[in-house]
């Protein structure tokens, strides 16, 4: 089958699809190094000036800081909730479990716009204005299902016998959790945290509804800048974001895999 004309056709088509998916992003990264005043072709030379300009742009630096803090808090909270819920789903059998598996991912089953509107209006009604806490609550509820899905998949693979051994050797359930379960779960925890951080860091659909005036995250900052015109600065910012959201998970995954490998050999 391999090297047959059919297979060659399939691989060439695949390459074309991958080019379709990546070419525009590559162009963004290329243009970020363009010397020209306008973020467009033809390229006139290579420089880092737009990255320097990014660094000196207070609005962007502020947006960056907000995105980082928001992403970090979101990932801690939603991973904690998500892992507890995943433990219940993987380790226990209880009535209503099937329904629970749908309930837990319900925040991604309904359109994000609807979730954004509902949360915004309800909390406004309760007297919570558009604010950072609202943004955080929104990001938590929206990222939690992803954590549940990712962590559940990893938890299933962890052998129950290790915990049973610890319990039979006299450890209580809390000791067992911290000495055995948690270290074994570490790759899952890491995966959940990275996943929720990246989703929060990238989110714009809900964020535009929840963010108070004057507060921008990186995506909403880009969105606001796009309203004027596309400048090389946006391309540079895009490049920085791609590097953060791609390189970070890749190293995270590598660390996770190494940890998991070490667990197995031990």
């Amino acid at each position: 089958m391999r090297a047959s004309p059919g297979w060659i056709g399939i691989s060439s088509f695949t390459i074309l699809v991958y080019i379709f998916m990546f070419a525009p992003v590559v162009v963004v990264m290329l243009l970020a190094f363009n010397t020209s005043e306008f973020g467009s072709f033809p390229m006139q030379g290579v420089s880092f000036r737009w990255f320097v300009e990014l660094w000196n742009n207070d609005a962007i630096v502020r947006a960056f800081r907000i995105s980082m803090v928001l992403g970090a808090l979101t990932s801690v909270i939603s991973t904690t909730f998500g892992i507890l819920a995943s433990l219940a789903m993987v380790r226990f059998d209880f009535p209503g479990k099937r329904i629970m598996s749908t309930v837990l991912i319900s925040p991604i089953l309904i359109p994000e716009v609807v979730l954004a509107v509902a949360l915004l209006l309800f909390l406004k009604f309760l007297g919570v204005p558009k604010s950072f806490p609202l943004l955080l609550l929104g990001h938590v509820i929206f990222t939690m299902p992803f954590v549940v899905l990712v962590v559940q998949a990893r938890l299933v693979a962890i052998q129950r016998e290790y915990e049973e051994a610890a319990l039979s050797l006299g450890a209580n359930s809390l000791q067992t959790f911290f000495a055995v379960t948690l270290p074994l779960m570490l790759p899952a925890v890491l995966a959940g945290m990275l996943f929720s951080f990246t989703i929060s860091f990238d989110d714009i659909t809900g964020t535009l509804f929840w963010k108070p005036g004057g507060v921008e995250t990186v995506p909403t900052q880009i969105f606001a800048m796009l309203r004027n015109s596309i400048s090389p600065e946006i391309n540079a910012l895009g490049t920085v974001m791609v590097v953060i959201t791609v390189v970070l998970p890749l190293t995270g995954a590598a660390i996770g895999r190494r940890l998991a490998a070490r667990m197995r050999t031990r």
């Binding site: 699809v17 379709f20 525009p24 072709f41 309930v103 359109p111 716009v113 209006l121 509820i141 959201t245």
Partner: protein, 321 residues
Amino acid sequence: MSLIRRRVPADHAGGRETDAAGRAGRRGARVAEAQAIERDRKPWLLLSPALTAITFLLVVPTCFIVVYSFWLRTATGAEQVGFYLDNWKEVLSDPFYRDILLETLKIAAISTVACALMGYVPAYFIAYANVRHRGFLLLLLMLPFWISYIIRTMSWINILGTSGAINAVLLWLGVIDKPIEMLYNETSVVLGLVQFLLPFMILNIYVSLEGIDRNLTEAAKSLGCTGWQAFREVTLPLSLPGLAAGSLLCFVLGAGTYITPMILGGPEDAMFANLVYEAIVTQLNWPLGSALSLVLLIVLGGLVTIYTRYLGIDQIAKSFR
């Protein structure tokens, strides 16, 4: 889902004791019972933070906007509490809203079909590629998920814009003497959506292809099928659940977006979610915005419900494994 481990040893221990000696055994049974209750409570304890969050940040707010959609916004900008059908009458009878809803469903459908057509072959390629290359191919497939949606969307401006890549090449080749505007129309919106949604489609198809027993195609071939027939009769039907899951995901995500049309579309290319955004964020007409977002919820939620009713939610969850 099938890999749930049940904890039974405690029950066994209790049971054996009861058989052994009368009174001590009954005490053992009581202990076992207490443990059983403890065990029944534990999953709910673990679930409670997540469930509390979902209840107060999702369920109650959604019920709230149902109530809210019957309130009225008065000329002064204040809300009138009560039971008014005005918002719903406006949303359901005004052809303006109906046309945009139909347009939204059309754009989502076109994007979904395009994703299916473009996505099946790469999914097949990854599933049947050499095992050594598969990890790398899967990594490449996951990459777009990590690249920001807004960056991927705005990147099309650099490609299609008047000073974008395509125009630059065409000008340089002398095919055209002034740039053509390819942005801010329905096609550019669909293009942006397809690029955003394609990874979801490929991933879902890949997962179902991956789960197919390879012996089945071999069996079909040994019974005289050609490679193409074996694909059409065996592989394709067995991969349909993945195709369906991918299509649902693409359609729902595509129909619920307002960012893509705002960046890549012209003034005429507004989608339904843009109306919601306008009503809530720009006009501050919250009751109307509630009604509009409920329409979107009913249409897309209905679709999800029909899908899960017949095919179950597990297929979509599978792609996270």
